[in-house]
Symmetry: C2
Subunit: 641 residues, 2 copies
């Protein structure tokens, strides 16, 4: 048989098949094949050992390819399990996937793993890796596989086989004496596994179910090159220093109180100032772009969530209660409320696009194990908007949104963005609402909008939500991490379910298109990211306290008070340190609080009507006139960064 492979440059290579993927890679390029980690055939990553039985779009993946890292990490998980099996023969293995930056494996053993255990496991992994052991895949029948794992006491694997759909192909991978139930793909052999490190152990439940066995999850990281591993470890150390949970408490910004409930954020006075700066800027920028701001309640009758469909597919995440025989829901999203506001009047096509925006606080149940500071919470304020528009306006609105998102996030200190366009899986058309034509039109509109603003988008096949395609934007922070913030989601569903209408130019009633969008994502998550990005040293316009006025001793408190008053009347957030402490102590305190400017006042300053300026960035700047400083600070505030 002939196999036709379409290469990335659209050239077609015809080969005699079936043949191993590795052989096909060699046919493409010997040089490339030597560096091959796996291959991609029609979007699916497969082993080099696999046999190609049909053609398609073909690509050889080397260690430069992002997908290769996933393969590497998954293979490292197997390698770790192998080492654990040798050192802890009683170990029972659950799931061991690759994750961002690394991998984990959930394991049941009789006692907690110690740091010393991790060191031994890692050392054994290194020895095994050096042996360049191959990953060998075998297909088994369901019964054969169940018997195989049952004999080895691997009950989780048996249970998992039972959970797999009837049509699933059951495969195992052998790595030396370690055999795992696994779909693959894997690297060809352990020779590629060189730059890895075991990081930590955490508790986890089998299938995340708190009623089932508690397992130990060993996390590790894995890279192709030692320098990448090193960079990652440096980044982690840096992230540790910037941890927003620690800074939140230290700087009096925000915190979570277990007494009140997990995942529920308290904004302390300084955090509230920071949040307000963002909110005020957000509101002004929205109004400037002809958004209409609204405020809707936090609880709604259950019927609305039946109409919206949330009760069908989102009930597990919703907080509901009954009163007077009515079901109510603490809103997990703002959409139904915005639709009711839109429906308050009969709209004409002339009113479109109509943009309703709200800083809407929503509550969603998340498992307690998934909560993390402000980054993953149960209550958060979405910077939400719904845009009602005609089909012809769709692409233009999305273009504006991508621009707006980047402008807003630039104002807040971020400069690098990545975009993903999530489209449907055309092979699974019945999973989605809306016709083929509508999907094609909407996907094309999103794509052309991104092109329009010159934003490269990564196409995520099959990643669209059921109600429409979306574009997500991720920002890159100061230490290189990517965080998803903006989501722009097209919706075929809600307009129909709620029978949202407008009167078109021809007098016909039509459903408008609806775009859901959040630019920052949520204020909580965004401020968490922002705190780590700036390591708590916020730009002047955002700093909760912008200026600390520090009298060198008691006689200069009055002058300090006058300076403080003048700063405040100029619109600066200034605080006077009236404590009976040495000025050195006051400076250290202000530095710990990451206050951008300190104005030290003593006898010379009082006589001359000046202040002695000390900035967080440049240290001691000497005596300056108060009005000069104010002008400089106000200019810095207005420039934002």
């Amino acid at each position: 048989m002939k196999i036709a492979l379409t290469l990335p440059d659209d050239e077609v290579l015809e080969l005699d098949g079936p043949l191993p993927a590795a052989a096909a890679a060699r046919a493409v390029s010997e040089g490339l094949a030597r560096r091959a980690v796996a291959v991609r055939l029609d979007g699916r990553v497969i082993d080099l050992h696999s046999e190609l039985r049909a053609g398609g779009r073909f690509e050889v993946l080397t260690d430069n390819d992002e997908d290769s890292l996933q393969v590497l990490r998954h293979s490292t998980a197997h390698l770790m399990a192998y080492a654990v099996q040798e050192l802890f023969p009683e170990a029972r293995f659950a799931f061991g996937p690759d994750v961002e930056n690394g991998f984990y494996y959930d394991i049941l053993v009789g006692r907690p793993f110690t740091p010393d255990d991790l060191a031994r496991i890692e050392a054994r992994m290194k020895e095994l890796a050096r042996a360049k052991l191959p990953f060998v895949k075998t297909i088994m029948s369901r019964e054969e596989a169940k018997r195989f794992f049952a004999e080895r006491g691997q009950g989780f694997k048996v249970e998992h086989i039972d959970d797999l759909p009837d049509a699933a192909e059951i495969s195992i991978y052998e790595l030396g004496d370690f055999v795992d139930l696994c779909e693959g793909p894997h690297v060809p052999d352990t020779g590629l596994l060189k730059a890895f490190k075991l990081m930590s152990v955490a508790g986890a439940y089998w299938k995340g179910d708190e009623k089932r066995e508690q397992l130990q999850r060993i996390y590790g990281t894995s890279w192709f090159k030692a320098k990448d591993l090193e960079a990652h470890l440096t980044m982690l150390a840096e992230a540790e220093k910037r941890d927003h949970r620690r800074l939140g408490q230290q700087l009096g910004l925000f915190g979570i109180k277990e007494d009140a409930g997990a995942g529920l954020v308290f904004w302390y006075p300084k955090g509230t100032v920071l949040r307000e700066q963002i909110e005020n800027h957000w509101k002004a920028e929205h109004r400037r772009r002809d958004y209409q701001l609204i405020v809707t309640p936090h609880i709604f009758r259950g019927e609305l969530w039946r109409t919206s469909g949330h009760f069908d597919f989102y009930a597990d995440n919703m907080y509901t209660f009954d009163q007077d025989g009515q079901t109510y829901v603490v809103k997990p999203m703002n959409c139904p409320g915005h639709i009711l506001v839109f429906q308050n009047e009969l709209h004409s096509y002339r009113d479109l696009p109509l943009r309703l925006a709200e800083l809407g606080t929503v509550y969603r149940y998340e498992r307690s194990g998934t909560l993390h500071g402000l980054l993953r919470v149960r209550g958060f304020t979405q910077d939400d908007a719904h845009i009602f528009c005609t089909p012809a306006q769709l692409a233009g609105e999305v273009t504006k949104l991508i621009d707006f998102s980047q402008e807003l996030q630039r104002d807040l200190g971020f400069n690098e963005f990545q975009a993903e366009l999530s489209v449907r899986d055309p092979a699974n058309g019945d999973k989605y609402i809306g016709s083929d034509g509508e999907w094609e039109e909407a996907e094309a509109a999103l794509k052309s909008a991104a092109d329009e603003v010159g934003l490269a988008v990564k196409r995520m096949e099959g990643e669209a939500v059921f109600y429409g395609p979306k574009i997500d934007l991720k920002l890159r922070d100061a230490i290189g991490r990517l965080w998803q913030t903006t989501t722009i989601q097209f919706d075929f569903n809600l307009g129909r379910r709620f029978n949202v209408q407008y009167v078109d130019e021809d007098g016909q009633h039509r459903h408008p298109y609806i775009i859901h969008r959040a630019l920052l994502g949520s204020l909580e998550r965004f401020v968490g990211i922002l705190t780590e990005h700036f390591a708590g040293e916020f730009p002047l316009w955002l700093a909760p306290v912008q200026v600390a006025v520090l009298p060198v001793s008691a006689p200069f408190r009055d002058y300090g008070g006058q300076v403080t008053e003048r700063l405040r009347s100029a619109g600066l957030r200034a605080e006077l340190d009236t404590r009976d402490e040495k000025v050195g102590y006051k400076i250290r305190q202000a530095e710990l609080q990451k206050v951008p400017y300190m104005l030290i006042v003593g006898s010379r300053e009082m006589e001359q009507g000046t202040v002695s300026l000390r900035s967080k960035k440049q240290g001691d700047e000497g005596a300056v006139g108060l009005e000069d400083f104010i002008a400089r600070a106000l200019d810095e505030v207005s420039r934002k960064h």
Copy 2:
């Protein structure tokens, strides 16, 4: 027996008793007795027919006394029931109390009352009243009374007797052929009932219970003088024109959506602008007074509400739900959250007074029958604060609060206030938390604070909440109605229950005093009042749209656009009317929307670079320079009123 009556001027009158109250009134003053409606003995209002059997503080009530109006209205309810009994002999009577400005009676009859019925009832009331029928009170035994009402088919009365406590004295009042179960007091005879009017019929349930009989509630109003009735009817007509529910929809401010739930407010775009102006001013004024603003979640674990005591005495008004075996509460108040924030650090006496403030949205279950527009809702944003202070700081803080409340409400357009000091009932000491000494100190502190700012307070005996005394402020609106807004509540309870502490100067840990306070009450209710006060014609700084720019025809749209942009860049909220309509139509629309200023632009204005000004207050003002108008408008905004 001798009866000693202490008169309002502290003179003591000794009379031979027992004697009728009317006789005692004559002994005080023949002239006063002729105008007497009832008397007050030791704070309790009693009939003129009643026999005085003991002395006490004694006061003759005439038609000038507020309590007399209540007596009059209650008597008018009986008179109405008498007329209904004559016209609808099958009528069964439920409750018929006096209420603000009038009275109602809940009645079961076979068919709905029509407007014509009300006219007939009112006519018959007038005839009966002219007969000067006396109200005659008789004491009955419980069994006798039940038999009496059962024989007359008055089942509600029988049921009510069963609900009365064992020790209750059962009394009836006869008015001609109408006999009612009633405690009294009443006016001596119907000769005083001259200025009344039946207003409306509404549905009501027996005992407010939706599972029981549905009754018809006839509302009426009643006054001593025809001119007072007339003034009241004029005020109602004026109030009707100002109804915030109608204006809320007409002006695009706010509304309630039954689909989402009763008592839950949606703020539309223009209402959101109005609300934001108030919020921003509120925040700035609080920060200026050294308040620290915070944001806390809307749901909390149940334990907090057990600690606070709300589960014991407020559970019926709380929305609760369970998740993961935890009870959660949608917060009905902000106190526990504020206490957790206070407890985030260990505070020293130097930190006090510490003032935490939040525009905190709370949810409370209220029976659907009690809901009314924005004035009585289920979800509302309290302008809340908790002040933690030392005992010595209490009076000073309350003084500042009374000042602050009045300044804030003056800024918002109100100029007349009344104050009530609610103190405990010393005879019922065990109803309250805190020692006698603490109560005396706290009540005295509140009183002296009011004196300090020269505010007359009405002392409300026994009206304090169980946890401490309070001062409430009411404002008077443009048509003379009083609305409670500010409440300043002292709290002995929460500090102890949550073990809130500060380190005092001597190193001892002590409970701070806590003051709860809301100045506007809630944003919802306050904006409801504000809308009616201004009849939707808000002062410039609050007006959602401050300036409407109206091109006389299409060629002047561009110039209108430039004018609008200039206004916006100057910080004014301006809207350009781009519709293809005659300018007269545009003016009428802007007037309906109660926009304070209209700028009309045509050829002359464009040539001269002016605008033609039309203000809501003064009508056409002719051509003015745009910058002159802007300066005038900004000045008006900054002056607020």
